[in-house]
Amino acid sequence: MAAIDLAGVKKTYPGNVTAIHPLDLNIADGELLVLVGPSGCGKSTLLRMIAGLETVTEGEVMIGGGPVNKREPAERDIAMVFQNYALYPHMSVRGNLEYGLKNRGTPRAEIDARVEEAARILEIGPFLERKPRQLSGGQRQRVAMGRAIVRHPKAFLFDEPLSNLDAKLRGQMRVEIKRLQRSLNTTSVYVTHDQLEAMTLADRVVVMNAGRIEQIGKPTEVYERPASLFVAGFVGSPPMNLFGTDELKTEAGGSLPESIGANTGTIGIRPDAVTLSANGNPAIAVTGTIELIEPVGGESHVYLRLPKTDRVMILVVRGHEGVSLAADLTVHLPVGALHQFDAGTGRRID
């Protein structure tokens, strides 16, 4: 178990593609840190630099306090779970689990004990003698996890480990990974492009965009106080409603509350913060036509077409209370729930 620290780490691929701009990141011992961001933002690159599968162009990677830039992946004492699982197809499940231990010269009795332990934790005991191709996707995923935990490594690195599973299984495995990480208390870095996965798993989330860190924080912080326009748009489903200050002014009838500063270029509001009545709180009222209603269980997502700017606002209502298709609807945006972003930098304004 160990902390992982990145100091000024940068990655430039051949052909002058800068995948990671210099960044600092400190991952505490035992923490589950999730790197989240759209495809191509450099999550895998960052993870692979920690693993030692990619060289570091600039800066220093430290595991357990010591620099590891010059160490081979094998010498870093980390374990990685790949998106395609990367199980050795010609070895049995047992062979897959044992491989890393054998290479390190672990005594036979110790190997057997560790394999038994991993098999018990992950409930893969019945498949130990099978080949990976005789397993289902979910079982392969477990074996890949097993291969990581038998090693008792300093850290687990996960690169989109659930994206090859169907939605239901993904939900189950997510819970299981979290439970496993809690009980083993091993430092973990988890890469995903799925913001829901990030929010549910993470102790802390790192939102990345185009090779840079947009925000680091607890999932609730990132959701409630997105640090930038990018984070605001990326985190949350359905996504935050984002309007230009002028657009909202037009829809609101020509004026906005005083709390909206002069530098504010964009104003955002979460769909579940939009209310049907003002309840006496200061709010911006806008009126539009209901274009679409998506019932999702206990609540509905309502798509409201705003006539003056021709923009769509999404709001969440409980049940179907008082909404019907093609009807006009006036909604209230409580001033306290508004997020403001700088016109120039896109950073949050408080």
Binding site: P14, A51, G52, L53, E72, P73, A74, I78, A79, M80, F82, Q83, N84, A86, L87, Y88, P89, H90, Y99, G100, N103, R104, K131, R147, R151
Partner: protein, 294 residues
């Protein structure tokens, strides 16, 4: 896996479509093969006046003939050496090319060229290089203190034909090995690296086992090649000599039949070769069907 079944409305059409292929197979394979089998049971007298049926006598004679037994073992040594040398070098080159990113295509193109060279031309090429009087290779070997002469030394001759035959087949093996290597997901090697295996260990415990289907396929192809496709090479270089040292089975069929004019024995030899080919093909198909190994 589901195969798509095509239903023809006209029942004669499928046969018509198959007819050209069947005709070619019949004229160029089945008919001569049948003739060879028939001839292998006959013996002609020295003047070609009388032909008599002798049953399996030709086969029995072959098994007693020292030259034929010698040819069998020469063929074995030649085929195994050629296969091992050619596959070994090809695997080495493919592994090297697989590591390249930008220059891979250039190397691939260059390495494929020998395959386009006709066997006889390849033979002559190397024959010049190994020529004891004017060859560059024999000159270099002489500098190293080795007196190369494939006209006198059976071992030298065998080494030369093995080199020529292997050289020509490297391209083919290289292409298959490279394709095989590229179809192995990169993440497997990475997982093995994280699992503490160094490059050599990764190669032998992960890459090579995963290449085993390719390796087996190439082994059969190479043995067939060495046994049957190397006639041109032998003919252009050693002509089976010196003193039978490189007289492989196919060359002996030609020698006994067309030079020695012992048609019955030559036919019996080619029937034996045919049985060997059929055997190898069966092994190959069995294997391809099951796709075992891992």
């Amino acid at each position: 896996m589901q195969t798509k079944r095509v239903v023809f409305s006209n029942r004669g059409l499928p046969y018509a479509l198959l007819a050209p292929q069947l005709a070619i197979t019949f004229v160029f394979f089945l008919w001569p093969a049948g003739q060879a089998i028939w001839q292998s049971f006959l013996r002609e007298d020295a003047f070609g006046l009388k032909t008599s049926f002798v049953g399996v006598e030709n086969y029995l004679r072959l098994l007693r003939e020292p030259d034929y037994l010698n040819s069998l073992s020469v063929t074995g040594v030649f085929a195994v050496s050629t296969t091992v040398l050619s596959m070994g070098l090809a695997l080495l080159l493919a592994a090297a090319a697989d590591r390249m990113i930008r220059s891979r295509d250039a190397y691939t193109t260059l390495l494929v060229w020998p395959y386009a060279v006709a066997p006889a031309v390849a033979g002559v090429l190397w024959w010049f290089m190994f020529n004891p009087t004017i060859g560059i290779m024999s000159y270099l070997l002489e500098q190293l203190g080795y007196d190369w002469n494939h006209r006198l030394s059976g071992t030298d001759a065998m080494i030369m034909v093995v080199i020529v035959a292997a050289w020509k087949q490297i391209s083919y093996n290289f292409l298959f090995f490279l394709a095989g290597l590229q179809s192995i997901p990169h993440s497997l090697s990475e997982a093995a690296a994280i699992d503490g295996a160094g490059p050599v260990k990764r190669f032998f415990t992960v890459v090579l086992p995963l290449l085993s289907p390719t390796t087996f396929f190439l082994m059969v192809v190479n043995i067939v090649y060495a046994m049957f496709d190397t006639f041109g090479i032998i003919h252009a270089t050693t002509e089976g000599g010196p003193s039978q040292a490189t007289n492989i089975l196919v060359y002996k069929v030609f020698e006994d039949g067309f030079i020695g004019l012992n048609l019955g024995s030559s036919a019996a030899q080619s029937v034996i070769l045919m049985v060997i080919v059929i055997g190898l093909t069966v092994i190959q198909f069995r294997f391809v069907e099951r796709r075992v190994a891992y």
